[in-house]
């Protein structure tokens, strides 16, 4: 780790644990009502969006509003609801539907597959090269930990393609890493889920999404088949671009550090927190901006406490920042444009050897 002075890890762990326990003690009715309210908003946006798409024949403006409503609905579903519920942030509610085992989101990626790669690998082994397959997603070279290859020259184009097709990238992620279709199988891997199941779930969830967005809903619109099909296509595209951008800003800004497996052996909780802190970055913004990012604009807080109801990140951020300052840990935050600029720079920088 290329930092100046190492913090007192035990004290750091104690202070962060304290923030967690005092905040979790407050979690209750307010949080349950909040997530239900967000779900209601999402349902209303989704269905008004779908209806407005058909009303495009009255005025194209209605269609446009419909596209935006549907895109917003998909973003809310994927970020503030899906991502957070599937992290187990609301499991304490004991609700049969709002929990990490039951919730399935409106995206091509099978929830269970995402849960394994994201919740387990990415959140446990954050930015440990070789263990966190989210670092560059096996497509982009984002640090000198990876050998430069010719294909990295055009990785900015690869990045743009990934953003456009983000839901499929997320969906295919586990299968790519497990070499289900292509590439050499690694002998030493502990295959937790049979490849046949990975394939079935990939195709069935993917097909369900395709049929829903590009066949059933367009067919329901009868003569306005194309209006709805194109509307759904654009809504999915907007969602892909948004989620991809937010996630890149949370993980791949210039200052985000990487770690080797060796440095993380026998890691204490304090060291784990420290790695989470250096492996993520925040984005400043207003209340609605935070909600639309699923509070992943508080990526640092999310990585410290992945199963704390995300709305609480807003309230703990100043406390976390204060603790970081005491320990001389960089609290990586900035405006959307600053962070995004930094991401673009990083992708371009490592395109070259």
């Amino acid at each position: 780790m290329n930092t100046v002075a190492e913090p007192n890890y035990d004290l750091l762990a104690e202070q962060l644990n304290e923030i967690q326990s005092t905040t979790m003690a407050k979690v209750g009715e307010q949080d349950a009502n909040y997530i239900r309210r967000v779900i209601v908003t999402q349902r209303i946006l989704e269905w008004s969006g779908r209806i407005l798409l058909v009303l495009g024949f009255v005025s194209p403006w209605l269609w446009l509003v419909g596209v935006l409503a549907l895109a917003t609905a998909k973003i809310l579903d994927n970020m503030e609801i899906g991502h957070n519920v599937m992290h187990g942030q609301y499991d304490w509610m004991n609700d049969k539907h709002i929990n990490s085992k039951a919730y399935e989101w409106d995206i091509a990626c099978d929830g269970k597959s995402w849960n394994r790669v994201h919740n387990f690998e990415h959140h446990t082994y954050t930015n440990i090269i070789g263990k966190d397959r989210d670092f560059g997603y096996g497509l982009l070279r984002l640090s000198n930990d990876f050998r430069w290859r010719v294909k990295n020259l055009w990785q900015f184009i690869t990045y743009l393609n990934l953003s456009v097709l983000f839901q499929w990238g997320v969906s295919y992620h586990e299968l790519a890493a497990e070499r289900v279709f292509f590439g050499k199988k690694k002998d030493n891997r502990d295959y937790k889920v049979p490849h046949s199941e990975l394939k079935t779930r990939f195709f069935s969830k993917g097909a369900r999404q395709l049929i829903k967005d590009y066949l059933i809903f367009p067919l329901l619109a009868g003569p306005f088949f194309l209006w709805v099909l194109v509307g759904n296509l654009i809504a999915n595209l907007l969602r892909n671009l948004w989620t991809s951008t937010i996630i890149f800003c949370g993980h791949f800004t210039g200052d985000v550090k990487t770690f080797s497996e060796k440095e993380c052996e026998n890691e204490t909780k304090g060291q784990w927190y420290y790695r989470q802190a250096l492996g993520s970055s925040n984005i400043k913004g207003g209340k609605w901006f935070h909600i639309l990012t699923g509070h992943l604009s508080f990526q640092i807080e999310h990585h410290l406490f992945p199963d704390m109801p995300a709305k609480r990140y807003r309230e703990i951020a100043p406390k976390v920042q204060k603790v970081f300052r005491e320990h001389g840990i960089q609290y990586n935050t900035g405006s959307f444009f600053k962070q995004y600029g930094s991401v673009v720079k990083r992708i371009l920088r490592y395109s070259l050897p």
Binding site: S21, V27, G28, E29, Q30, D31, A32, N33, R36, R37, I39, V40, R43, I44, H87, G88, D91, W92, M93, N94, D95, K96, H97, N99, S100, K101, A102, N115, R116, N119, F120, E121, H123, T124, K192, K269, W272, P306, D307
Partner: protein
Amino acid sequence: MAGYFEPVIQIFKPSWRDGYYRANVQSVTYIANKTVSIELKVESRWPTHKAGQHIELTIEINGRLVTRVFTIASSPNQAMHEGVIRLVIKQHDVGAFTPFLSRLTVNSWVNISKPKGTFLLPQSNAVTFFAAGSGITPFIAMLHQALHDEIPPIHLVYYAKPNEHLLVAELASLRNRLANFTFTLLSRSTDGDVAAKLPEFIGSQWLVCGPQDFYKTIKNYADTHQQSIESEHFSLVDLHTQGDEKAHFQVDHGGIKFTADNQQPLLAQFQANKINVPYGCGMGICHQCQCVKKKGVVRDIRNGKLSDYGEELIQLCVSQVVSDVEFKA
């Protein structure tokens, strides 16, 4: 799909939940010290109970759904004609459920399950009820229903602490209205143990409802005297939360049973017993090893907090058993 729309439907129908029935609180009355009587108006699609059956009552406590089982203390006849059922519940001083019942307000909504259980009034020549404490509830339901049905001669032996017998006036009124029902109110401190009372009831059909000890006394006697007996007994979960000494408990994972200790995380013990469960980080972050606990209590290793008794999601890697536990496979 119902789950998808659930929060929207709840705007119009509070506490509407997929897989549950809804009930409206009609009244919350204290009928004795720490004993609350709750009348619920059930929805019309609720399948009417048989006298002696119980329901799961689910209430939202600070955003969290908590469920407990209670016997219905009113007749099917009343449920059918008025749509009302009554629960009589003893409140505990500490606890995650009963203390909150006093906060229920009239006209608020709760959730209930369909009626369950096979503790029913048998067809027999003569029946003896043995009740202790709040174990009176199924018998009250049976006796109220008896006002509308043919019944065999019934005698009730009702144990409670002196002057703490519940619903005494109601029992007296039932005795006046039912030709072949009699009862005696007893207390162990003044009348001695139930064991001494048993011989005189040999030959009738016995129904027992009360705490574990009370049931065991009667059961032992019945077994040695070829006496037929039906029972509904409640045992407090045997918790082991004090001290660090090693203790062992039964774990049931969808029918596969093994013994676990209170020292290691459950995940390690599942693996040692070759039960395949998904797992991940081992530190309570990733929720991969999460299981549905159906009953029993576990302790969160990270903060020492005890779980609830009923059904909930728990993470095996950061949980230790402190009672017998049952999991959904």
